[in-house]
Symmetry: C2
Subunit: 136 residues, 2 copies
Amino acid sequence: MDQLRETLKGHHLRTTTCREDVLSTFISKKNALSHGDLEGALGENYDRVTIYRTLKTFLEKGIIHKVLDDEGLRYALCSHNCSEEQHQHDHIHFKCNECGETNCLENLHIPPVQLPLGYQPQNFNLLIQGTCPKCN
Amino acid sequence: MDQLRETLKGHHLRTTTCREDVLSTFISKKNALSHGDLEGALGENYDRVTIYRTLKTFLEKGIIHKVLDDEGLRYALCSHNCSEEQHQHDHIHFKCNECGETNCLENLHIPPVQLPLGYQPQNFNLLIQGTCPKCN
DNA sequence: AAATATCTTGCAACACAGTTGCAAAAAAGG
DNA sequence: CCTTTTTTGCAACTGTGTTGCAAGATATTT
C-alpha cells in the first residue's frame, strides 16, 4: 500500500516495514490498541522495544493519540490531521464493558463546561463506559 | 482520630494503622494520589504490597475511586457516599500541567451528551488538562 | 550504482508497577 | 485471654516501559 508510505512521509518519517505494519494494524482494526495488542499482532516480526518506539514516534508526530481507561493505556489514530506542532483532541472515547473495545466517537463534541474562576483549560478528554451497539 | 475508625467501620473494614494512615493522607492532601505518592509518604512504615492492597480494598469498598490521566493511575476520595454495591462517579477531574496535581471539581456535572443509537452509557469521566488557579 | 550520513532496529540490561503464596502478626468477638 | 478471621510482610514473580549500544536499513549525494 502506497498510502501508508504517504502518511509516513507526510509526518516526516522514514518508511520501514515495522511502521507500515503498525500503521496498517491501526487502520484495519478501528478501535484503540494497546502495546500488548500490537505485540500480539506483530510480535513475531518485531521486537517489543521497536513497537514501543514506533508508538512513541507516532505519538510525537501526531499520527496517533493516547486513549485512557481504567485498565490501561491505549492508542488510536488521529482523525483530524495532527502534526508535531499541534494536536487537537477534544473528542469522546467510548469503552464497552462487555467486549472491552474502546472507540473514538468521531462526530461528537464535548459540551462546554463552566469551570470555576482561575482554571485555564487546554485539553478535554471524556471517557464514557457502558455497552456498545454490538453488545447491546 | 476517631473519624477515621468510623469511616472504616462504615465500609465494613477493620481498623489498622496502615488503613488509618492511608485514609488520613487522602484527607490531608486533597488532590489525587498515586501509589508512589503514598509510598513516598508512608513507605517507611508499611510495605509496598500492603499499600497496594489497601488501595485495592478502599476501591472495592467505595472509599476511593480511580483517577486517570495521561501519565498514570491515581486515586481520590469518593465525596458522595459510595458503597461496595454502588459507585457514582460522573464527575470532572482537572489536571494542572504546571504543578502536576489532579483534583476533583466537586460541584460540577458533566453536561449531557447525545450518544449515537445503541450506546448505553453507565459512567462518565471527564479529564480536563490545563493550568490551575494556583499556577495561573 | 556505490558511498556517505542519518535514522531505525534488535539485543541486553535495567527501572518501575503491580500481583501472588504463604507464614507470622494483629483485630474482633466471645 | 482464647479463638477465628483478617491483615501484614517477605520473597518471588509477571508485566510495562526505558536506555545504551552495535549492527542494519533508509535516504541522499555523487
